[in-house]
Amino acid sequence: MLLTIRGLTKTYPTREGPLAVLRGIDLDLDQGESLALVGESGSGKSTLLHLAAGLDVANAGTILLDGAAIGEMSESQRAAVRRDRIGLIFQQFNLIPSLNAGANIAMQARLAGRNSPDWNAHLARAMGLDGLLDRYPEELSGGQQQRVAIARALAARPALVLADEPTGNLDEANADAVLTLMLDLVATAGAGLLLVTHSQRQAARLNRQMRLVMGQSQA
């Protein structure tokens, strides 16, 4: 099993007292499988994704990535897991503004020490970014920027892709195109995909769905 989540609970302190965002989530994701997390705003989708990426730590429960418990790792171990095993795609495109598109695509692969120009070129071509690689993020449209971000996430050949509303900032046509590309590439790469979306239409295109309501899963 690629990703195993058991009894995951996350609480945030607020002025009105602790707010439980996740209340005992169980989840399994296999290699090559894609799972859509759907739910209303505030249902805990993004939090679940952040915890899976090791960007934050849960209050209770376990997250096993290839059998290793992320919650028991140190900050730098979690950083290493993100670098080597995970591809992250955010709603905000999160490109590095001082690097051009090509350098942004190669970024994580270079950090992980397995940069392959051929693979990067393949990704860029597949994403329709040919001829844009020398441009800086501010010179790209929103859709182009998100395609760069997706290429970056896949360039390092991650075992697990975590995508947080990757098309949330794009218009519908653009969103569909980007999602199609992403699904194709994830499938080609054989990675697992956990995708947060509030679009039922998009969720339907993945292998499975999981709906979160008030921090709990509804089958």
Binding site: H50, A53, L55, D56, E75, S76, A79, A80, V81, R82, R83, D84, I86, L88, F90, Q92, N94, L95, I96, P97, S98, L99, A103, M107, Q108, R110, L111, A112, G113, Y136, E138, S141, G142, R152, N169
Partner: protein, 800 residues
């Protein structure tokens, strides 16, 4: 991985080279002025140490004639034959060259005291050879290469303008054969010798003279320079701080992304630190080089003032000291970390999930401004308290610091308030927007405006002080230098010959007699003056008892200079302790430029108390138009050397020259500080310009042309600079008052009347506003020429 992260961090500078330039400029300017001043101070201190160590002055006791009476030459042999290991020294001023000549006897000088032999110096044979030679430092050697002097031997570590030679040679050069100034006493003397008091009852044994208190005397001068250096350093750090703040803010999203992509936080912080230190090293080296140039350019003037004010010999050329370079670099590192500390801390503690939206950078919260203002008000209150009750040099400097920093801290609130007040009332929408937006810009520009305020206020303050001083000093010179000619003879016989000839040809002959003496426990001088209308009419008395001149003439009272009165806390009628007994203070006179306590006695009383004082100097009163001819005639007729007869005008010229040189240094530092402030303003505007675009784009969309927008931006800066200038004038006057009434008194012992020179302020406005305009011009021009596409992007992108 390190390479990738570092490359990513650095890619920011590639995209924003201007920020890099400003950061480096800020840091290197901060380093440059500070380290330049330190280099000057180090050079001066080294010179004092050389002077102190010269010929063992700091190690060996000396025998001197009591009350400066000359030493009978036979005393040397008598002491030696009694077993006392003494060595004769003659010191004198060589009028034709202006060199301080020191004649020694290398054969009897205590071991290691004379710069002879031991590998470095000339051989004893050369020094003793009948042709002789003079040992000087290389600079002096180069200067007098072709002078009519014995052979010069160049040697490091000697004070400038000082030449050491064999006593016989120096006696000849000074025209004082057989004369001894003092005897150096080798501490290695066998026990059981006949006591000195028996062998030479007329000589006093004095402890090592060291540098004659030069370091102490000049402390205040160096402190002044240091204060300017510190001011420039702070202003430079303002620049660095604002640039670093912006750069870190703009890279927040990069930091977050890097961490999301798996870069551990500690590694990122370490790399950021390394990046800063590399930048600091580059800026530090540039700053050191620049500082060296500044110091080298200023040193001749500094050396001139130190010589004129204190008689301190400081070389006019700079030595590169490794310790100084390291200290300057350390300072740059420290300054960089201080400037970057907050930004670095924020980057280190930033949660990886924090929203990466550009926080309106430098739009300091009103809360922070309020705190800052409160702190500033507190400092101003402290300054007021010190102004009322403080005394002494540390208090004076604390007053200056509290005043300047306090005023700088309250400035944003004050300017903000003024802008809001100006914006009140009716007007078109553009006008309304102008004032509202200007008020909003003030926090972002606050550091630059504070730098500008400090520079302008220093300018007003120092300018006012210097101008007041010049006015007072010139007037005082007219009073003090009442005689038209000043005669200095080489012997009393010569003096008598000349006086016999000159007396019938002048209106009056006024003897000038003085001895070094201890006054109320302080080392100083006592003068004897004749009872003459010259003094009664002209002497610059600050305060006096009735009939003061009669009482002085009758030996019933003494006059003391302001320095002595302040240092010893003397008021009229108080007894002043003088050699031969106390006298009441009959008057206090101003004595600018003299660091030492001084007292004046009536000539009769002086002669009875100091019968051994030399009678070599005289003031001559004559109609001013006849003075020059008489001076020439005396010199020619009596074969006096240069400087034997000096005209009043020459002394005035020299004194004013010393004065101008002293303040040439402060002027130069002033201008440099102003320049740094202009750069600070420019840097702030340039870095802010980009953040301004999203705010300006809507106005452009609403129909304002780019040219119009640029004009508004330009006007905005001018308005702000004008406001700062208006606030800087009262602050500068407060500063001038603190300098004149507090710092000067503490440092030099005299107070100046403060005068106002509004024309100078106008001049400053005419300099500062164009400087601010220049700083604002480029960002404005860039805006005016910005392609519409760039403005459009403000709407296309999700950029806050």
């Amino acid at each position: 991985m390190i390479r990738v992260v570092l490359g990513t961090l650095i890619s920011h500078w590639r995209r924003r080279p201007l920020q890099l330039v400003f950061l480096l400029i800020g840091l290197s300017l901060a380093t440059a002025l500070w380290s330049g001043v330190q280099a000057i101070n180090a050079e001066a201190r080294a010179a004092y140490a050389d002077a102190a160590g010269l010929l063992g002055r700091d190690r060996f006791d000396r025998l001197v004639g009591r009350n400066a009476a000359p030493i009978n030459a036979s005393r040397f042999a008598e002491l030696r034959r009694a077993g006392w290991a003494v060595s004769p020294v003659i010191e004198g001023y060589h009028t034709p060259t202006g060199l301080s000549l020191v004649g020694i006897d290398p054969l009897t000088m205590p071991k290691g005291a004379a710069p002879i032999g031991a590998g470095k110096g000339p051989g004893m044979a050369e020094v003793l050879a009948p042709a002789g030679l003079l040992i000087v430092n290389p600079e002096t050697a180069a200067r007098f290469n072709n002078a009519d002097l014995p052979k010069l031997f160049a040697m490091d570590d000697l004070p400038p303008m000082t030449a050491i030679g064999d006593i016989g040679l120096v006696q000849r050069l000074l025209g004082r054969p057989g004369t001894i100034s003092h005897l150096v006493l080798d501490p290695d003397a066998p026990a059981g010798l006949v006591p000195l008091a028996t062998v030479v009852p007329e000589l006093d044994r004095v402890a090592p003279a060291g540098d004659g208190g030069l370091a102490r005397l000049t402390d205040s001068f160096h402190l002044n320079l240091t204060a300017f250096g510190a001011l420039a350093f702070v202003v430079g750090l303002f620049i660095a701080h604002s640039v670093i703040g912006l750069v870190f803010e703009q890279r927040r999203s990069t930091f977050r992304t890097l961490r999301a992509l798996g870069v551990p936080m500690t590694q990122m912080v370490i790399l950021l630190l390394a990046e800063l230190l590399v930048l600091a090293l580059v800026a530090g080296l540039a700053g050191v080089a620049l500082g060296y140039l500044v110091a080298a350019a200023l040193l001749p003037d500094v050396a001139g003032s130190l010589r004129g004010l204190y008689g301190a010999d400081v070389p006019g050329s700079l030595t590169l000291r490794p310790g100084w370079v390291l200290a300057a670099l350390a300072l740059t590192f420290g300054g960089t970390l201080a400037a970057a500390g907050l930004a670095l801390w924020q980057a280190a503690t930033m949660p990886v999930l924090a929203p990466a939206l550009p926080r309106a950078w430098a739009r300091a919260s009103s809360k922070r401004l309020a705190w800052q203002g409160a702190l500033g008000a507190l400092l101003l209150a402290l300054a007021a308290v010190i102004a009322l009750v403080g005394s002494g040099l540390p208090a004076a400097f604390t007053l200056l610091a509290a005043l300047l920093v306090g005023a700088a801290l309250v400035l944003p609130l004050l300017v903000g308030g003024l802008v809001q007040r100006l914006g009140r009332g009716r007007g078109g929408p553009v006008r309304q927007w102008f004032w509202a937006d200007t008020a909003q810009q003030v926090p972002g520009l606050s550091l630059a405006l504070m730098a500008l305020l400090l520079a302008l206020a220093s300018n007003v303050g120092v300018g006012t002080m210097v101008a007041s001083f010049r006015q007072t000093f010139t007037g005082w010179l007219d009073q003090r230098l009442a005689s038209e000619l000043y005669l200095t003879t080489r012997s009393e016989a010569e003096a008598n010959t000349i006086l016999a000839w000159v007396t019938p040809r002048v209106d009056a002959v006024l003897p000038i007699r003085s001895v070094p003496a201890t006054l109320n426990g302080l080392p100083g001088e006592v003068y004897g003056i004749a009872d003459h209308a010259t003094y009664r009419d002209n002497w610059p008395l600050l305060d006096a008892v009735p009939d003061v001149w009669d009482r002085v003439a009758q030996g019933e009272a003494a006059l003391v200079n302001e320095q002595l009165a302040r240092r010893a806390g003397l008021a009229l009628g108080d007894p002043v302790a003088l050699p031969g007994g106390d006298l009441p203070v009959g008057g206090i006179y101003s004595d600018y430029g003299n660091p030492q306590p001084q007292a004046l006695l009536g000539l009769l009383l002086f002669d009875s108390r100091f019968p051994d004082a030399t009678h070599l100097r005289y003031g001559l009163r004559i109609a001013p138009d006849k003075a020059a001819a008489l001076a020439q005639e005396i010199t020619a007729r009596h074969a006096l050397p240069d400087g034997g007869v000096i005209a009043q005008a020459d002394i005035k010229g020299y004194s004013l020259d010393v004065f101008e040189r002293t303040f040439a240094v402060t002027d130069a530092l002033n201008v440099l500080t102003l320049g740094v402030a202009a750069v600070a303003l420019f840097a702030s505007l340039m870095t802010l310009a980009e953040l301004r675009l999203p705010q300006l784009a809507p106005l452009w969309a609403l129909g304002l042309t780019r040219r119009r927008l640029a004009g508004i931006e330009f006007a905005r800066i001018l308005v702000l600079a004008m406001l700062v200038l208006v606030l800087a004038i009262p602050l500068g006057l407060a500063l001038a008052w603190a300098l004149v009434a507090r710092l000067n008194v503490a440092a030099f012992g005299w107070q100046l009347p403060l005068a106002l020179f509004p024309a100078d302020w106008l001049w400053l406005a005419l300099t500062a506003l164009p400087a601010a305009g220049l700083a604002a011009l480029w960002p404005a021009l860039r805006l005016a020429r910005m392609p519409p596409a760039a403005l459009l992007r403000m709407f296309a992108n999700e950029r806050g």
